[in-house]
Symmetry: C2
Subunit: 458 residues, 2 copies
């Protein structure tokens, strides 16, 4: 290890407490992008990120307005033109915190318990954004950056990044780079560093079913009106067959089959049936039997009900025949599926299956394309080595079930691959109550990033 | 028409405005029995009713506490032992007002628009209770009551009268009577006086489905966990077959078939397919094709989804795989079905059909037995004649789709039949937003009650 590299690592180790304080400050701001009432908090969070860049004397620090929430940009290009340039992606927005009553501590009052820090957004992905900034800071404070870095931190990832593709297109020159570093994917477990080479896409819909003009008395009218909640249940039930396959017409037509080599590599993952049983607390797994759990969550498309509502859901009983029923339905997509194609398939399914006793409406809430990256690029190899240095173990290659549409946007618009890493672990309750970040893993991650930046210049 | 009878009618006609004022006062109190936060309003409403009795110098006026909301009692027995005794039933509680935003005026600020008064509970059944009190008042103010009356006004009808059967058993002697008058059923239309000889029973359940221990990220875990919302939809979808029949095992075993004479009588009802299409606003009716709409809503049992909930139902998108899903499910029952039997059938259905990938729980929220009354009793004949006098048309006999469990309790405990009438019409939006009462029908109803009381003594 070179001396400046060692000095940067020592700088990180000396500042762990300070980093936790800064993450606490960052996570206190409720930057919930989906709810318009947090608009001011979104601005405050963007400012907070920009200030981090200003403190490090980054160039070109700007908060770019979009049609939605702003994008924060900053660059540090002191390594010179011969050195590679990394575009570091992140998002400062977070998921809603509901159901609030399931949290052991308030979602926007970060608290450390044991080895973890708990708050909405700590792991997805304020902690990850901060890790990249602190790794760069450690190098700047103790030596010279061996690579150029450009940070692009958006505020709309949790609502499907509706304005990001346009932003990337509009700022193609500013964002020009050799590869992107995307710390929005996770690790299989603490001490199992992971490189994610594929991400699922997303197609998120709202399905509304309209029955009678008004809520009716279920005694007076029950028996002659098709209950919209029942009609919705019938439609949802028909969206899977008995083998766990999605029945939207043509749903699997564009799915690229897994080849034997990739199945072999995925089979090395420690994420077996018991892993999923333990993490989820279910008594039995579900899904396509001819695929392993790790294939089902990474390499196969799915259709999930994210929310469902009809009629009276308060305490007690109300004998109402509801006028309306609604479901939020989202599909995770794999190459070469496309969100627009799935939208058409859902409409085709409804045209074929919706009864003429009700009216239906589908709207698209968000979407993003799936992506696959080259497992053998020099950027991936630099991280492979860096992670091995930090954790003492060779990383696992993984297909990620979640969606980071920006990876396919970078491929299409900037023509660069992404190195998808991150220090979230599967028990971090991402998107659920009691979201947390494992601090020892976070600190190891910062070390790995310092090694990564130095490895890139070798 | 005898002179005192005419005087009573004139008294009613002279006081219409006053009665609307009193109904306004009565309906302003939000006596929502299902929600504990209205407990004090329930007491206030019971007092209001008791004061009505006290003003008329009723005997034995009492507010009886129960394990839930109190029962208001009062009697006027001046007609003497040789005269018949009517037990007049009513309830002072109302349904919740949700969805509040669908009301054109606030649910607890009664307002007259055109020929109707709008407020939660005006038709179900504060207006009906007040009509019986005002008919008795009119007779007392202008002559002598020809029959004895005992009023029993409960506060738990909208939550299934959980404490009423015990109350009736405990006060069997006090409540002794020749028949019951139950104004909690309605009229087919304004100017179509109606006698309801059958009421459906009710069995109301909450079905809870538990999946993973916590809400999960639908990307990370989608594909290996049976989504509880989907599992609930699958179970609900299976509760009806393609012919609109309920599939709970044995559901129709105890259903008494309709005989040809009764089908003939029901076919005289003006409530045909168009009637239901207009009232509900649906483009096509649904249900058991071999039965007419009036048979399906009155003489056939049903299963309805009253409410359904899972996951994220706010604005925008949240990519959650929910831990939990819930449905409120209620069956309307016809003779000789029993709520306990249907509870067992639901459990049997779930044991047969629920997959082992989820956990389920059923709880009983409320229930009541169906009832059938003698269409040829002297009490029914007295009302038949009274209604004909008031409206100038012979009443229609009807099977009511709604549930008034007290009718079967009166049969079983007091051994008396009920005369089931009332001045609600099907477009009154009972249980829904913009509940209303048609004032001309209400006034006609009071006249009919005066004639009824006089006819009883003939």
């Amino acid at each position: 290890m070179s001396n400046p590299q060692e000095a940067a690592i020592q700088y990180l180790h000396a500042n762990h407490d300070k980093f936790v304080e800064e993450l606490t400050e960052f996570s206190k701001i409720p930057s919930i992008s989906t709810d318009p009432k947090y608009k001011e908090d979104m601005k405050k969070t963007a400012d907070w990120v920009a200030n981090q860049f200003r403190e490090l004397h980054f160039s070109n620090v700007k908060i770019f307005p979009t049609d939605g929430h702003p994008v924060v940009y900053g660059e540090y290009l002191n390594a010179g033109k011969q050195a590679p340039t990394a575009l570091i992606y992140g998002h400062y927005d977070v998921q809603p915190a509901e159901p609030i009553d399931k949290w052991d501590s308030p979602p926007f009052e970060p608290v450390v318990r044991g080895e973890n820090i708990y708050a909405r957004g700590v792991t997805d992905m304020k902690g990850q954004v901060l890790a990249t900034i602190k790794a760069v800071k450690a190098i700047i404070k103790t030596g010279d950056m061996p690579v150029n870095v450009k940070f692009m931190i958006e505020g709309e990832e949790e609502i499907g990044s509706p304005n990001l593709a346009k932003f990337i297109k509009d700022h193609k020159d500013m964002l020009a780079c050799d590869f992107a570093l995307n710390p929005d994917t996770g690790m299989i477990a603490p001490n199992v560093p992971t490189i994610t080479y594929a991400l699922r896409g997303l197609a998120y819909f709202e399905l509304k079913i309209y029955g009678p003009a008004l809520d009716l008395h279920s005694g007076v009218y029950g028996g002659v009106v098709h209950n919209p909640a029942q009609a919705l249940a019938e439609l949802i039930a028909g969206m899977h067959d008995n083998n766990g396959k999605v029945t939207l017409p043509g749903f699997y037509d564009s799915v690229r089959p897994l080849d034997p080599e990739e199945r072999e590599e995925l089979s090395r993952s420690p994420m077996d049936e018991n892993f999923y049983l333990e993490r989820t607390g279910v008594k039995k797994l579900w899904g396509e039997k001819e695929y392993t759990p790790v294939e089902r969550t990474g390499a196969r498309p799915t259709l999930e009900i994210n929310g469902m509502f009809s009629g009276f859901i308060g305490k007690g009983s109300k004998t109402v025949l509801p006028a309306f029923a609604m479901a939020k339905i989202s599909c995770r997509l794999v190459p070469d599926q496309h969100p627009d194609e799935v939208h058409n398939q859902l409409i085709a399914y409804l045209k074929q299956n919706a009864p003429d006793t009700i009216r239906w409406e589908v709207s698209v809430l968000t979407g993003g394309e799936p992506s696959l990256s080259n497992r053998n690029s020099k950027w991936v190899k630099a991280y492979l080595k860096a992670a091995e240095t930090s954790w003492g173990t060779r990383p696992i290659f993984k297909r990620e079930g979640g969606s980071v549409p920006v990876v396919s946007d970078f491929q299409k618009i900037l023509n660069v691959d992404s190195v998808n890493i991150g220090f979230a672990t599967p028990d971090d309750n991402m998107h659920g109550p009691n979201e947390k970040l494992h601090l020892p893993t976070w600190f190891h991650g910062m070390d790995a990033l310092v090694h990564f930046f130095y490895n890139l210049s070798e």
